[in-house]
């Protein structure tokens, strides 16, 4: 039996999404073309845009389809910096405020902007649960003029939900717009872009069972004039390139399917996750559950296993047919201790032992019990393998 507990990496495509995707792909027509085929494709595209806008509480004009979450985040952050410079002159100082526990799609953009555009990076503190420290945010915003604040809506590794309403209140008081990376939260939380009051929000389709290579930047109609990263036609607001009508349709259907199961399945998902946590901590009490215990994504369980390396644990779980993740990225194929855990103040040797198990609404009790049944063997062997001697023979 294969157990898939890596839904935060990518979530399998439901049958209804596959069917809608295939059907939409059978239409011959570029959505920008004026003929019948083009009009049919455009109709699908705009229908999908409206449906997605409805699902996330935005206006259709605010939904910009992208190639995924990474492009959406890049557009939002680079776009904000460049829009500011266009308005105030190329030499106008720019600054982005974020925690160090953001996804690499955010951290790497800020690093690049820092090197390329001399954009300042104002670091906001996080607590030991991976939640943004609001006092630190207020302090950072008081220190210098910030161009944009960027925050996850929920942390993709440790699952902690960020206090977005408070982040927006504090930032608004300083007159600073907010971008939220909602990639990990999409499909697990009800989102209302308008009520949130953020300027932009990044989304990805494949985390909710849509296709890889499809995402969206939800960009407030009142935002600065954010321009396309790649130029060539401006087929959409803030984006050039042929529009992917089938991808947009599949994304819309995936979101709707997910919303329907979420209505019924949320309590069950939380109960399964808690059953998994209790079961694993019961057989391996030395493990530490990370992230906020109260305000977290329903399908996310994150543990550190003392004395183990995360990639070794993954191998041992994989041997049992269990698909999991360390949650953190590899640098050049080399496993790294999670930057999120390090930002939370977890010591490096503990951070090495990270393991993220992400469930979704399709996860069953039998699957959870299977993971629990093999976990003590996995940890025992992982510890043995982790105790590699340090000195020369």
């Amino acid at each position: 039996m294969s157990v898939y507990l890596d839904h935060q990496a990518t979530s399998p495509m439901p049958q209804a999404v596959k069917e809608a995707y295939l059907e939409a792909m059978s239409i011959a027509g570029n959505p920008s073309a004026l003929h019948r085929g083009g009009r049919a494709a455009r109709a699908l595209m705009e229908d999908a845009r409206e449906r997605i806008a409805t699902m996330v509480g935005a206006h259709p004009v605010e939904v910009v389809f992208t190639s995924g979450g990474t492009e959406a985040i890049n557009t939002a952050l680079k776009g904000s910096v460049w829009a500011h410079q266009r308005e105030h002159g190329a030499e106008a100082p720019t600054a982005i405020a974020s925690t160090l526990a953001e996804h690499h799609a955010t951290l790497d953009v800020i690093t690049w902007l820092h090197e390329q555009e001399a954009t300042a990076w104002s670091e906001i503190a996080v607590d030991d649960a991976g939640v943004m420290d609001l006092e630190s945010l207020d302090q950072v915003l008081g220190e210098r003029k910030i161009t944009v604040v960027s925050s996850l809506l929920a942390n993709n590794e440790v699952g902690s939900i960020q206090p977005v309403p408070e982040i927006v209140d504090i930032s608004s008081a300083h007159g600073v717009p907010v971008h939220v990376d909602a990639v990990a939260a999409l499909g697990y939380q009800r989102l209302n872009f308008r009520d949130m009051g953020v300027e932009s929000m990044s989304l990805s389709a494949h985390k909710v069972g849509g296709p890889v290579g499809v995402g969206a930047l939800v960009l407030s109609r009142y935002a600065l004039d954010i321009q396309a990263l790649h130029h060539g036609g401006n087929q959409q607001r803030s984006r050039s390139g042929t529009m992917d009508a089938a991808g947009a349709v599949a994304f819309a259907v995936a979101l709707e399917v997910r919303a329907a199961v979420r209505e019924e399945g949320e309590h069950r998902l939380v109960a399964l996750r808690d059953r998994l946590r209790a079961g694993l901590l019961n057989v391996a009490p030395q493990c530490v559950a990370r992230g906020s215990l109260d305000h977290r994504l329903p399908g996310n369980l994150h543990l550190t296993v003392p004395g183990c390396k995360g990639d070794v644990l993954l191998y041992l779980l994989d041997e049992h047919g269990i698909h999991a993740s360390t949650g953190s990225a590899c640098q050049a194929g080399i496993p790294e201790p999670s930057h999120v855990l390090l930002a939370m103040g977890v010591p490096t040797d503990e951070a090495w032992g990270a393991i993220r198990l992400t469930l979704s609404y399709s996860t069953t009790e039998a699957e959870i019990d299977r993971v629990i049944s093999v976990f003590s063997d996995v940890v025992e062997r992982g510890v043995r393998a982790g105790l590699s001697k340090r000195t020369k023979a």
Partner: protein
């Protein structure tokens, strides 16, 4: 799985043999290059992708294990320290000794694996006293020398699927038949952690390069140099002494003295050695006493009487006849005929026939010109 053709075919053969195989690529640097350049290096991201691609084709799991810290300490720093001491180390042997067949094997065994399979050309043979390490079927590709550091215990868990392959060409053909893109990938040469191949420049940056004196064996100054570490015993080229020796014969490096930053030169015959010895030794498989090659010496912690063997001092040099013994905690190798240009730091690997018996790191040599055992 380095990403090269040998480990790719070794993995494929292990899978074909019905084993439960997992591919492991070693990250030996924290800052690997993106692309392989020329035939140097083995540790770029491209190499790791090549290895992963083969593992995917074989439908086996694949992991990158990060041993960069241990590699930096036990191989790279050892290499620098040895040169600083005026010795000539073999970093590939240190890597086999401390990383591949120690750290990797340790983790592998702890995870429940029985053996580590590599693409080395060498053979493990079941002998009367347990497993023995032998030369590969092909003399030209034989890599038993760099495996000479394996211990009896490590040998129990070694598996070399390429050991019986008649030629490298055959391995490349097999890789091509299996559809591996790496079939024609060039062999890697040189030292993997010095990607541009400029060992002298690399060492100069780390050991420092100060001008020093070149002396002849009587102690007379015959020239100067730009850093003693750049010289190796037996070296002839690059001395730049400007004028010939009084006897008109070419001069060779006889000795490197790092503490005084001196290089000693002399005629070729002064390079001749009659004896090599080293205290850091190991035995691959049954020791010479248990193998019946030698008689035990009573009273020593471990010692043995002389036995006939061949000794090889470089990966690609010819083995020469000798007698070896272990006495007073030292392996002593008495050469039947003088051997030229061997430097402390090199490993002397002892063979009996095709079998690797053991090795020592040379830390003492005796000149063939000096009175024997003076």
């Amino acid at each position: 799985m380095s990403g090269g053709v040998d480990s790719a075919v070794a993995a494929a053969r292990a899978v074909d043999a019905g084993h439960d195989v997992v591919g492991v690529h070693l990250a030996l640097s924290r800052a690997p290059g993106t692309l392989r350049t020329g035939s140097r290096g083995c540790c770029t991201i491209e190499d790791s992708m090549d290895a992963r691609r083969v593992a995917d084709m074989l439908e086996i799991p694949f992991y990158v294990w990060d041993f960069s810290e241990r590699f930096a300490e036990d191989v790279v720093q050892d290499f620098i320290d040895e040169y600083r001491e005026g010795r000539t180390p073999n970093p590939c042997m240190r890597c086999n000794q401390h990383i591949k067949f120690d750290a990797v094997m340790e983790r592998g065994l702890a995870l429940g694996f029985d053996a580590i399979a590599t693409g080395h050309y060498a053979a493990v043979v079941e002998g009367p006293e347990g497993k023995e390490l032998h030369r590969a079927a092909t003399w030209a590709k034989d890599q038993s020398y760099v495996l000479g550091v394996l211990t009896t215990e490590q040998l129990e868990h070694c598996y070399f699927p390429l050991g019986s392959t008649p030629s490298k060409e055959e391995v490349r053909n097999e890789a091509a038949q299996r559809g591996f893109f790496v079939a024609q990938k060039p062999d890697s040469h040189d030292i993997c952690f010095i990607p541009d191949g400029d060992t002298r420049g690399w060492l100069a940056d780390r050991v420092g390069a100060e001008e020093g004196q070149v002396l002849d064996s009587s102690g007379e100054v015959v020239g100067s140099h730009q850093g003693a570490h750049a010289f190796t015993v037996g070296q002839r080229k690059g001395l730049q002494l400007g004028y010939p020796a009084s006897d008109g014969k070419p001069r060779f490096v006889l000795e490197v003295r790092p503490t005084t930053n001196e290089v000693v030169v002399g005629p070729k015959e002064e390079l001749a050695l009659s004896e090599l010895a080293g205290a850091a030794m190991s035995f691959a498989g049954p020791d010479p006493v248990r193998s019946g090659y030698a008689q035990a010496i009573a009273g020593n912690e471990f010692g043995c009487e002389e036995f006939e063997c061949h000794v090889q001092v470089r990966a690609h040099s010819d083995p020469v006849p000798a007698r070896a013994k272990v006495t007073d905690g030292e392996m002593v190798i008495l050469l039947d005929a003088p051997l030229l240009g061997v430097s402390p730091g090199q490993s002397a690997v002892i063979y009996v026939g095709t079998r690797v018996v053991g090795q020592c790191t040379i830390d003492r040599t005796v000149s063939a010109l000096a009175p024997a055992h003076a």
